[in-house]
């Protein structure tokens, strides 16, 4: 009789532990997937650069410093290996592209160029997708961190070798990025 009770208790604990294990893995997959969403958008943004630079150069070829800054940020993006490095490079690129787009204020012909307007809208679209993807990532990280730092998750987080993840910070410059209107 006692054996049966002990077995039942053990089985109960096992079921409970499997539940926690699955939850942690699900939440981990969620934030990893959320990161890949950001990554996709960052790559798409990088892919827009050659076309954008070419268009802008047609009107403002002597603004060499801006083009160099954009090229450097793209290089940093391509060589980034880890999540923090990618995030850093992404912030660099945001700043560089902000300057590039701002050139249109000084070059009315560029501003009126249809190709430029389409690229500008695409870029604005990608920027907001990155912002939303980052928000989703941070939400997912928060859920994950809560799960592995509170009881009962914390009991399994150690043996499963799960560590707290850091949030993606938004640089001040990007928060104040000018609103691109397309109407």
């Amino acid at each position: 009789m006692t054996t049966i009770i002990i077995l039942a208790i053990l089985a109960g604990i096992a079921v409970f532990a499997i539940g926690i294990f699955n939850r942690i893995v699900t939440l981990e997959n969620r934030f990893e997937n959320a990161w890949s969403q950001i990554d996709v958008q960052l790559k798409r943004r990088g892919d827009l650069i050659p076309n954008l630079v070419e268009t802008v150069q047609g009107y403002a070829s002597h603004e060499k410093e801006v083009f160099e800054q954009v090229a450097r940020s793209r290089q940093a993006m391509l060589s980034a290996g880890s999540v923090p490095e990618s995030a850093e490079a992404a912030n660099m690129m945001t700043a560089a592209l902000g300057r590039l787009l701002a050139l249109s204020e000084s070059y009315p012909d560029l501003k009126a160029n249809e190709n430029f307007r389409v690229l500008q809208e695409e870029l604005a679209g990608i920027e907001s997708k990155i912002a939303y993807a980052r928000q989703f990532y941070n939400d997912a990280v928060l859920q994950y961190n809560n799960a592995i730092e509170t009881i009962p998750g914390v009991l399994l987080a150690g043996p499963m070798n799960k560590k707290e993840q850091v949030f993606l910070e938004i640089p001040e410059t990007e928060r104040q990025a000018p609103q691109v209107s397309f109407s």
């Binding site: 993807a133 928000q135 989703f136 109407s183």
Partner: protein
């Protein structure tokens, strides 16, 4: 840019029951309600079928009950699998394409990422009147429709707010419940028409049979009960649909604000729609409760016939978040 430092409540107080509703649990409530609704509809129509049989042909009760149940089930099935297509055709929407509606497509893709749902299929209605609605049965089959007037009127943050509101309907399964409610109203009205038509026909036979061998007091009672039910059921079903849609607008506003972390965008969009003085969107009455705002100004109100809460109240709630 989105103000991510703003704290948005994850739960809001339901205007009807006064209970706190977690925005994240709302989906489960809707899924339960959808199943209950189908069960209720089958039960209601089966009972009506039974009463009809008692009046006309007690021997064929099984046939009448079976027919009514089948009607209820088939209406629900059509709503589930084809409800979105019915609505799209009825509203005259056409698919959006990336080149023509780049702005809309980009914004919807972004907000979908934030909401954590697949990008819905996008449709546009060529109309000056700013409006939008969502349909489909679940987030994998979500459809969002906006008018060209809405795209022209709103800036990026405002349009993000409206799209987030519509995605909230998608994500929370409001779209499924609304489709099934429309089917419920449709099935009840259809059955009423069938019964009334056959009552005229059956009534003649009833009289010509004369003598009253089958007719009696109890049958008369059933007859009156049935007539009453047939008149009241459609009215009640429509009232239910109104109440359900009214209450979901607040929830979708709150969820939309949560998705964008920017209640102000949605509030400003509502303000612009409040100020709009052009021609209203021409859609059939059966679709109005689904829209972002009811094109009939007076139906954005606090009374029981309204499909939407007053716009001022929605704006005020968003501003107080």
């Amino acid at each position: 840019m989105k103000a991510e430092s703003v704290r948005i409540p994850e739960a809001i107080t339901d205007v009807v029951t006064g209970r706190k509703i977690s925005l994240l649990d709302w989906k489960a409530t809707n899924q339960r309600a959808s199943i209950l609704l189908v069960v209720f509809l089958v039960g209601l129509l089966a009972s009506i079928g039974y009463l009809v049989a008692q009046v006309f042909e007690p021997g064929a009760a099984l046939f009448f009950v079976g027919f009514a149940s089948l009607l209820a089930l088939s209406q629900s099935a059509v709503a589930f699998w084809a409800g979105d297509r019915v609505v799209l055709v009825a509203s005259g929407a056409r698919p959006a394409n990336r080149d023509e509606h780049r702005y809309l497509v980009n914004i919807t893709e972004a907000v979908s990422i934030g909401a954590g749902v697949p990008r819905p299929k996008l449709y546009v209605i060529d109309s000056e009147a700013p409006n939008a609605f969502a349909t489909g049965r679940d987030p994998n089959h979500g459809v969002v429709v906006v008018t060209t007037g809405l795209i022209a009127l709103l800036d990026r943050q405002e349009l993000e707010g409206v799209i987030a509101h519509e995605l909230a309907h998608v994500k929370n399964y409001d779209i499924l419940l609304m489709s099934l409610l429309a089917a419920t109203v449709g099935a009840i009205v259809l059955l009423r028409d069938i019964v009334f038509r056959s009552m005229r026909f059956g009534g003649r036979r009833y009289r010509s049979a004369g003598g009253g061998s089958r007719g009696g007091k109890s049958q008369m009672v059933v007859f009156v009960l049935l007539a009453l039910l047939m008149i009241l059921a459609p009215v009640l079903a429509v009232a239910l649909r109104m109440a359900v849609s009214r209450r979901r607008e607040y929830l979708a506003d709150a969820t939309g604000a949560y998705i964008t972390r920017n209640p102000e965008g949605l509030a400003r969009a509502l303000e612009k729609l409040l100020e709009y003085r052009g021609a209203p969107l021409a859609v059939s009455e059966g679709l109005r409760h689904m829209l972002f705002v009811n094109p009939v100004r007076a139906l954005n109100a606090a009374n029981i016939f309204a499909t939407h809460p007053p716009l001022e109240d929605r704006i005020d709630r968003l501003r107080r978040m």
